[in-house]
């Protein structure tokens, strides 16, 4: 067992972990942060995406011990301090960018990372950036719209309905 310490959603946490403990298990089982989902075993689906030191990573393919000392943000840390939805989250609701909700945490975390890097992405840039996040419900239409809207662009005009 190894002791790891991280700052997760603004709070410092320490736990004893096995070498094989994945960051996703650390969050879900260790900290009860079950918003981070595990949808595959091959780092393809992206339901497990969280931010480690500000960057999107797949928590199911990252060992907890390998990010000892890091600052981690999960979907539970995305809401505004007053509990309301942040701009990206709100755009997903406004534009129906989710259905079953399972891929949604990863989708939101990836979208937020994209907008941090590229505040006004084009449709093509959004689609390319989200290639590591699989959604089975939405056909992606409203996800792309939501990200366009979150970036302050006219989503309706860009995605003619």
């Amino acid at each position: 067992m190894t002791k790891v310490t991280m700052t997760v959603n603004g709070k410092t946490v320490s736990r004893e972990v096995e070498g094989r403990t994945l960051l996703s298990s650390f969050l879900r089982e260790g900290l009860g942060l079950t918003g981070t989902h595990v949808g595959c075993d091959t780092s393809q689906c992206g339901a497990c995406v969280v931010h480690v030191d500000g960057k999107a990573v797949k928590s199911c393919s990252t060992f907890a011990a390998d990010v000892d000392g890091a600052t981690v943000k999960t979907i539970e840390g995305m809401n505004n301090p007053d509990g309301s939805l942040s701009v990206v989250q709100q755009a997903f609701q406004d534009h129906h960018g989710l259905q079953c909700g399972f891929c949604t945490p990863g989708m939101v975390m990836s979208s937020a990372a994209l907008l941090a890097e590229n505040p006004k992405p084009t449709e093509a840039e959004i689609r390319h950036y989200l290639e590591g996040n699989i959604c089975r419900c939405t056909g992606y239409h409203n996800i792309v719209k939501a990200v366009l809207a979150a970036s302050g662009q006219d989503a309706a005009a860009l995605a003619a309905e």
Binding site: G19, K58, F63
Partner: protein, 262 residues
């Protein structure tokens, strides 16, 4: 997966020492190794993470070319190599997806030498030099077939130095599921000739298409490859494409890489 001891040294010397232990294996981002371990296809006793070693990170332009630390992530290369070697930066920016690029490293990719990975094509196509804790290995000597390299027991890649060509491009045709290369071609035009490296196509892993190199060295134009043929012998045949299909892609993508080179 089976349990293991996790160590994260901060110097190359400590890493080499840790890797000398029985059953120790290097982890350099883990975007391939972790899924493999989940399937219990790899079960190291000790996992030695190389991503905490500062001297193995970074992108730096020098007299020999562009040097990239082995523990540098694809995302960092995509960003920091862009001004010096745009084709290589674009290659790095097209590996996996953004989250994978934030963890995966050039050293990890080259040590694994997946036959459908991108970096082997960029490295062989550039005629780069792989630097290890023991020696320097020319790319032409380094890649020795699918998942096989010149690395010896206990030897770790510490960096890679890329000569920067006059023009280059990497054109990748995605395997639709994994988004690895179904086939991809890296073309680099140097003052003394053209190199063409192909990944994803051959059962022997990354290879140089020497006929195309010769033709393009004489005349760097897409039309130069028009008359060439690629044999399907030895090409990979799987669900996503037959050997003949991959042979076709080698030619089509080479042509497109020449057109895209800048």
């Amino acid at each position: 997966m089976h349990n293991f001891d996790f160590v994260k040294p901060s110097t190359i010397a400590d890493a080499v020492k840790a890797l000398s232990a029985e059953g120790a294996q290097a982890l350099s981002g883990g975007q391939t190794l972790t899924p493999t371990m989940k399937q219990r296809l790899a079960a190291p006793a000790t996992l030695v993470s190389l991503t905490g070693i500062a001297e193995m990170k970074g992108v730096c332009m020098g007299a020999d070319g562009l040097s990239i630390g082995a523990a540098t992530t694809h995302a960092t290369v995509a960003k920091e190599a862009a001004a010096h070697y745009p084709a290589l930066a674009a290659l790095a920016g097209g590996i996996g997806d953004p989250a994978v690029r934030n963890r995966g490293t050039i050293g990890g990719s080259l040590a694994n030498n997946d036959p459908a990975a991108c970096y082997p094509a960029g490295t062989l196509g550039s005629g780069a030099t792989i630097v290890t804790n023991r020696r320097k290995i020319a790319a032409d000597d380094y890649f020795q077939g699918m998942f096989t390299t010149a690395l010896e027991e206990g030897e770790i890649i510490t960096g890679v130095t890329f000569p920067v060509p006059q023009k280059a491009a990497y054109v990748k045709f995605n395997q639709p599921a994994s988004r690895f290369a179904l086939t991809a071609v890296f073309v680099a035009k140097f003052a003394d000739g053209v190199r063409v490296a192909v990944t994803g196509a051959s059962n022997d892993g990354v290879f140089r298409w020497t006929e195309a190199e010769k033709a393009l060295s004489a005349n760097f134009a897409a039309s130069s490859v028009a008359g060439l043929t690629v044999s399907p012998d030895g090409m990979i045949g799987d669900l996503h494409g037959t050997p003949a299909y991959r042979a076709n892609l080698v030619k089509v993508l080479t042509k497109r890489a020449v057109e895209a080179a800048h």
